[in-house]
């Protein structure tokens, strides 16, 4: 039976009609809302490719039923910034060339954003710990950590000025 689900994505209210209230948020983002930045990696909440912010908290969206999102606010990688107005994290990832195949990056950017929101100047080891829920198979880890350090420094400087 088709039902309507209303929530907010990247600041905009959305309403989707679905037959299956167990449909994972990831599928709704990609297939109903056309937001392809959030990636499918495992469907098992193990790899972090599908990470989004739900009411500000980092959550894996691959197994998150859509009914549990009703009325909540979702932020995806598309909501962080745009090529014209990049988020400091996105700019730092470009500056550091932090990525190889890039499939894991959307989820990692979201995890990084959540980390910086709660800890604006993390140490290298705190960054690494915060990303342990995200898998990078290409081996871009050190560049990713450097990029997050750089973004944190810039965001911190921005906050002071």
């Amino acid at each position: 039976m088709t039902k309507k689900y209303e929530f907010t994505v990247n600041g905009r209210p959305v309403s989707v009609s679905l037959d299956n209230e167990e449909a994972p948020l990831l599928n709704v983002l990609r297939n109903n809302l056309g937001l392809m930045g959030t990636r499918f990696g495992c469907g098992l909440e193990q790899c972090g490719c599908c990470m989004v912010l739900i009411d500000g908290a980092p959550e894996k969206s691959c197994s998150k039923p859509v009914w549990s999102i009703i009325g909540k606010s979702v932020t995806t990688v598309e909501g962080l910034g745009t090529p014209e107005h990049p988020h400091p994290l996105q700019q730092a990832f470009i500056d550091e060339q932090a990525g190889q195949c890039g499939y894991c990056l959307a989820g990692i950017l979201i995890s990084a954003q959540a980390l910086l929101a709660r800890n604006p100047s993390p140490t290298r080891s705190e960054i690494a710990q915060a990303l342990d829920d995200n898998i990078c198979r290409c081996g871009s880890h050190n560049r990713i950590i450097r990029a997050i350090e750089k973004a944190a420094a810039r965001m911190g400087a921005g906050a002071i000025s």
């Binding site: 299956n20 098992l44 790899c47 470009i94 060339q97 190889q100 990303l131 342990d132 198979r137 290409c138």
Partner: protein
């Protein structure tokens, strides 16, 4: 003024195979250049490097270039993007193609302007006469230059001193879109009227469907789904991806198979290979029967099966319409896949178009070709309907071709100084090449009625760098060297190419053995290596990495802290790398720092090369510390918990130095660090423990067992 044929230089291989220049370069609109390459982006930046190469040889800004890659309709056929050969061979072909194109335009400009070609130059596509703009450019002249012509090799490639773009770090062209979350991956491709599909996998070749509870599966889907069946190939298709996912999961319970074979835990161990039917070869002179009074050293090293473990499960799309099949894939070779699809589906290759679309990093032959074939098999049964197959996570782990387990037994006869005078590597391994282009069957084809026969057992020939024998022979100065290769003809799971093929286990064995010999000789590992190395490029990377790491001869290890070095020249003819690892061992291994010196000859994109080298080091460290595909009533490594890989908090700091970057010949770097990293870790663990572990991965269990033995 015709150039005599005899003076025409030989064309680089890929250009000789694809001589029509328009496959490589066209000028479609003012200010625009399209460059074609048969190489595909596997996430390591090859298309950025190719764009740099084309920009330099054509003298146009990189921003003007659109690169088209891996497309049976438009691009050159360069076989596979594999073996770290894209830049070494494909890059040189691109340089020559662009140089030939540039030369044709200079000739045409000289005719139009009535001047000598020697007075002309090109700046960002504009023709200059004695340095002054002429109003002519590639685009004004394009109508009069026939790019359907074949390459002659007559265009002069730039020399290293003239490079403006090659050799300078360029930001990856593909990264921003990925960082902003654009739809760039094959998984993001949406075709009009597309249906999603999941395959109910045949557990093994020869397994047959006994029963399908269609009602139970449809009920689980909670939205309409259909079944598509061809022999024992069964798929579930529907408009709603969630529904096909649910149905696919339910099928594990509601489809009953017969003739199921399940590999056992014992078969997951490399030692199992020793008792299997083999095809034997000796590469080199036979081993002396008698050690002739010299000391004989023997040591055996093993590694289990590895998964590519790509971060995204494989995906493929296909549309069969009006007798034509169009396929979208992230595989490494669109032309070999087209040929394999033609044989599998009894279609003419000319009726099939294959487009490459990026996937996640594959590092070799993963499930990409098979997912494309799945989509094609379904599409053939549903003409006019675009089909998208996306494998499940467990499907990728269980059914992707594995890197074969290997046993490498090293034997050496030592001279009076404790240096090897005679060296044998005896290698047991399944094949490293079950690619469709080598006759390997596409997975779905095995389930079709009258499945194609298995190809005869074989491996990558030594002329292509070898498979199990890759890097099986040390580069060191040893008077007599040979490889004894036992090709294991049947393995419990499909095996094929993973980054470096046999190089990682072979270099692990060789370089651990060299450390063992150095220890016997009472010499420092760096000094010992240098004492048996003449090649100046090899010596240079060893000396460089030792300096970077602050290596001091005779530094004592033990107490759980160690450092190790290893070296290899990839395929004994490509890039050189030496690696030093510093680590701590308690119950598990904690990598502290990795230093690497590499000589990859001419480097097109230094930062891109460093990125790949870092990636190779981290992936190899992950293999060595954590990875082995386990069997227990089937493949029991089916997700990231049962097949863990290195995590962010486990990654060491890495320092990389590139040397000799101005050499004429570029050498690929994707695979060069795999072996040296593995062996340097092995040697560092031995240094830390005072005891050697010769079996990979270096798990907690193996460390504990070794400590208890001591």
């Amino acid at each position: 003024m015709n150039t005599p044929v005899m003076n025409t230089p030989a064309l680089p291989g890929p250009l000789a195979d694809n001589p029509r220049l328009e496959r490589w370069v066209t000028f479609p609109a003012p200010g625009k250049v399209i460059v074609g390459t048969g190489r595909v982006e596997l996430g390591q930046g090859v298309l950025t490097a190719m764009t740099q190469i084309a920009a330099d040889e054509l003298d146009v800004a990189m921003e003007r270039i659109t690169i088209r890659s891996g497309d049976t309709e438009f691009t050159p056929n360069e076989g596979y993007t594999a073996g770290s050969q894209s830049i070494q061979f494909g890059g040189v072909a691109m340089r020559q193609a662009c140089a030939d194109v540039r030369s044709l335009f200079i000739d045409q400009a000289a005719r139009v302007l009535g001047c000598k070609t020697s007075e002309l130059s090109i700046c960002d596509g504009g023709i200059l006469h004695n340095g002054v703009p002429t109003g002519q450019d590639y685009w004004t002249l394009a109508g009069a230059v026939d790019l359907a012509a074949e390459a002659t090799g007559g265009g002069k490639r730039k020399t290293v001193a003239d490079f403006n773009v090659i050799g300078r770090s360029s930001a990856r062209l593909d990264l921003p879109a990925k960082i902003f979350g654009a739809a760039v991956f094959i998984h993001d491709l949406v075709l009009d009227g597309m249906l999603h599909a999941r395959v109910v996998r045949q557990p093994n070749r020869g397994a047959t469907i006994d029963a399908i509870d269609e009602r139970a599966i449809k009920r689980a889907a909670k939205a309409p789904v259909e079944f598509v069946r061809n022999g024992n190939f069964l798929a579930i298709v529907g408009a709603d991806e969630t529904a096909v996912d649910l149905a696919g999961a339910a099928a594990a319970k509601y489809v009953i198979w017969q003739h199921v074979e399940t590999p056992t835990p014992l078969q997951a161990e490399a030692s199992w290979l020793r008792q299997r039917p083999v095809i034997d070869r000796i590469i080199g002179a036979p081993e002396p029967a008698d050690p002739q009074g010299r000391v004989r050293f023997e040591s055996t090293y093993t590694r289990g099966y590895l998964a590519h473990a790509s971060i995204s499960p494989s995906c493929g799309l296909a549309l069969y319409h009006d007798g034509r099949l169009t396929v979208w894939t992230h595989c490494q070779g669109v032309f070999p896949l087209r040929a394999a699809l033609a044989r599998t589906l009894s279609l003419d290759a000319s009726a099939i178009t294959v487009h490459h679309v990026q996937g996640s990093g594959c590092y070799g032959h993963n499930g990409a070709d098979d997912a494309a074939a799945d989509a094609a098999i379904i599409a053939m049964k549903m003409p006019g309907v675009p089909i998208r197959v996306r494998w499940r996570r467990e499907e990728e782990f269980v059914y992707e071709p594995k890197s074969p387990a290997m046993v490498v037994k090293v034997r050496a006869l030592l001279d009076d100084a404790g240096k090897p005078a005679d060296w044998s590597a005896e290698i047991w391994s399944g094949t490293h090449n079950y690619r469709p282009g080598a006759g390997g069957n596409l997975l779905g084809a095995q389930a079709l009625p009258n499945p194609p026969p298995e190809p005869p057992p074989g491996d990558v020939p030594e002329s292509h760098g070898g498979g199990a024998t890759r890097n099986g022979e040390p580069l060191y100065d040893i008077a007599h060297k040979r490889i004894i290769h036992h090709l294991v003809t049947e393995t419990p799971v499909r095996t094929s190419a993973l980054r470096g093929l046999g190089a990682m286990p072979n270099v692990f064995a060789i370089e651990c053995a060299i450390d063992e010999l150095a220890e016997r000789a009472g010499q420092d590992p760096v000094q010992y290596r240098l004492s048996i190395t003449v090649d100046p490029r090899a010596r240079a990377v060893i000396e460089k990495v030792a300096a970077m790491a602050g290596w001091e001869a005779g530094e004592s290890g033990g107490a759980g802290r160690g450092r190790g070095i290893a070296f290899a020249r990839y395929k004994s003819r490509a890039a050189y790398a030496a690696v030093v690892v510093a680590l701590d061992v308690e119950e598990t291994i904690r990598l502290r720092h990795v230093w690497c010196a590499t000589d990859a000859g001419l480097v097109v994109n230094p930062d891109g090369v460093i990125n790949q080298l870092e990636g190779g080091i981290i992936q190899s460290a992950s293999w060595v510390l954590k990875e082995q595909v386990r069997f227990d009533d089937g493949v029991s490594s089916f997700d990231w918990e049962t097949y863990p890989v290195l995590k962010f908090s486990e990654v060491p700091e890495i320092d990389i130095a590139l040397i000799n970057t101005k050499d004429e010949v570029p050498l690929g770097v994707g695979e060069v660090t795999a072996g040296p990293t593995a062996a340097a870790i092995g040697n560092a663990v031995s240094h830390a423990l005072g005891a050697r572990i010769r079996d990979l991965p270096l798990t907690r269990e193996r460390i504990m067992a070794t400590l208890l033995k001591e």
